[in-house]
Symmetry: C2
Subunit: 347 residues, 2 copies
């Protein structure tokens, strides 16, 4: 076994603290990755604190992982020692269900092995995430990381990037389209960058006037403060696509009304409580309300290659791991522009 250092939550109510654990020796198809950076996703906090009521402790969070390959198994063909490599939200799946076969492993019908707070395919061995110095992953679930982008800015692409890229692609967002992005946080700022890079005319909807300058710097063409619903009235029926990244409970109908005929609003944040949706808001203009969850390995690689080509990556604040608990508090307050990334040298 490989002695590994990390940070873990021992229970829902304890702060993250240093934690030593073992990882498996790399098998024939495995890659051993020395972790350079790991992003801090809001879902790390939900799970560390058992807010989704499915937590396994001790928990080493982290699923926005970028590192360097330190060793490869005998059968590995896609990676070699020294390569940059990435790991996202899952590290295995059944490989045999229809979703896995179609390259949509994130919807595996049998057993998606989450990068942390999950179990390996044996349904017993817990998985530990990227707040650690190394990780062992099958090469088929490992991403190639472009070398032309700073790796700390790439890390958040593995969750925030693919979560926003996938629906933008699935609904064919592009030039000539008006796209709204609701909320300017970790997901929202990637939504703005990606939608703008695809040629869309982007409007950011935010409760906070203070984010206008950032929104425009990130690529938004318009900025609407949503505290006053009157600001939205002239925009009714104008949008082809709206990406809703807000995970606090909020009024969806206000945004549905902005969609034009055949327009789509996609939820990538998951408010705790159900939202009230009037049928008339969907029937008018044949609107669609959809959900979207990360992406498969193939699409995640496509997104990384796209970002490399367009020079798109995340705006980050790099922190030493010793500041992780403070970073959690600031993330909850929305006080981060726009993603904390842990520099694993600090471990």
């Amino acid at each position: 076994m490989l002695k590994t250092r990390g940070y873990a939550a021992e229970a829902a109510t304890t702060p993250l603290a240093p934690f030593d654990f073992d990882r498996r020796e790399p098998g024939a198809h495995d890659v051993l990755i020395e972790i350079l950076y790991c992003g801090v996703c809001h879902s790390d906090i939900h799970q560390a604190r058992n807010e989704w009521e499915n937590s396994i402790y001790p928990m080493v969070p982290g699923h926005e992982i970028v590192g360097r390959v330190a060793r490869v198994g005998a059968e590995v063909t896609r990676f070699k020692e020294g390569d940059l490599a990435g790991v996202g939200c899952f590290v295995e799946s059944c490989r045999t269900c229809e979703n896995c076969k179609e390259g949509e492993e994130q919807h595996c019908l049998t057993h998606l092995v989450a990068t942390y707070n999950g179990t390996e395919r044996d349904e017993q061995t817990p998985t530990y995430g990227g707040y650690s110095n190394q990780i062992v992953v099958d090469e088929n679930y490992t991403l190639k990381i472009p070398s032309n982008l700073p790796p700390e800015n790439v890390a958040p692409l593995l969750c925030a990037g693919i979560t926003t890229y996938s629906p933008l692609r699935r609904f064919n967002v592009g030039a000539g389209q008006r796209v709204g992005v609701v909320g300017l946080g970790g997901l929202g700022h990637m939504g703005v960058k990606l939608a703008a890079s695809m040629g869309a005319e982007v409007t950011v909807f935010s409760t906070s006037q203070s984010k206008e300058e950032d929104a425009r710097r990130l690529g938004a063409h318009h900025f609407v403060v949503t505290k006053d619903p009157q600001n939205l009235e002239p925009l009714a029926g104008k949008f082809h696509f709206i990406l809703d990244t807000v995970s606090a409970t909020h009024d969806l109908n206000m945004y549905l009304n902005l969609l034009r005929r055949d327009g789509t609003m996609v939820l990538v944040g998951a408010p705790e409580k159900p939202s009230e949706v009037p049928a008339f808001s969907l029937i008018t203009n044949n609107r669609k309300l959809a959900g979207s969850m990360i992406g498969g390995i193939r699409e995640t690689q496509e997104m990384l290659d796209y970002c490399a080509e367009r020079n798109v990556s995340s705006d980050v604040e790099v922190i030493p791991i010793q500041q992780i608990n403070e970073a959690y508090e600031r993330t909850i307050k929305g006080d981060v522009r726009y993603r904390f990334v842990i520099d694993m040298k600090s471990l």
Copy 2:
């Protein structure tokens, strides 16, 4: 002006009664249609009783109209005296907005002229519907009615038919797909017939066991009684498409959970109260919840031609107009298999 006989509601609380009124003389582009049959849509009742709070009285309802051309204007090219002709939910639109130009007049951005309970393009002259002996409509808003189907069975296609056909087409329903139809009323029975005719494997979801025999006769392959939610559990994640035709408030989430990856549920009924939709139900499997409203003239003609070719039409109970108030009460109770159609000879 043309002296016209019909039945009208004089107020929200009065029964429908005989009513004489004038229609315009046919203009150069108009068709005068002698009405043979008019379907009774649930929305006729909502509007006659001002349940949508937008009623104009006196109101002559009816937007599922089939008749015979009695006269044509000088410039009319598509119809001649003696042709069968149909009129659906609208009789004019602005013709210049982007939706009209794209043949989606039902979503006209300026002024959709409803067949009844609306105003002409002058925004003053009230429109009167199909519970009458004749109607005058521009030929561009008049449908060709196939002659190989009984006209009384065709009438409901003008609303119930297109309302179900349009979303089935838009979401590419076809062979190899599992399709659910929620509710077996006027819309639902057309949904079953059309989805089955397109090659889908159709499951009807109904609160009433008594409809199983009918459902299977209409083309359904499976029938699920929804009073016991346990009946739905084994079907989770199985459906490509669900057409929800129920306009009473009901639990959407129960059906959303039946959708497989990238599956879509379309609402064509409009419950009065908003429905609670949990984001997780949409994010899981990248599901879509959509709405759909009738269809444009081009698609309505396509639907009529499709039905003629496949020998698909509505199951109806033909009534004399003197029974309209009783028919309303029976429609409200769901006591009709599956659409009342008024034989206008009775007028």
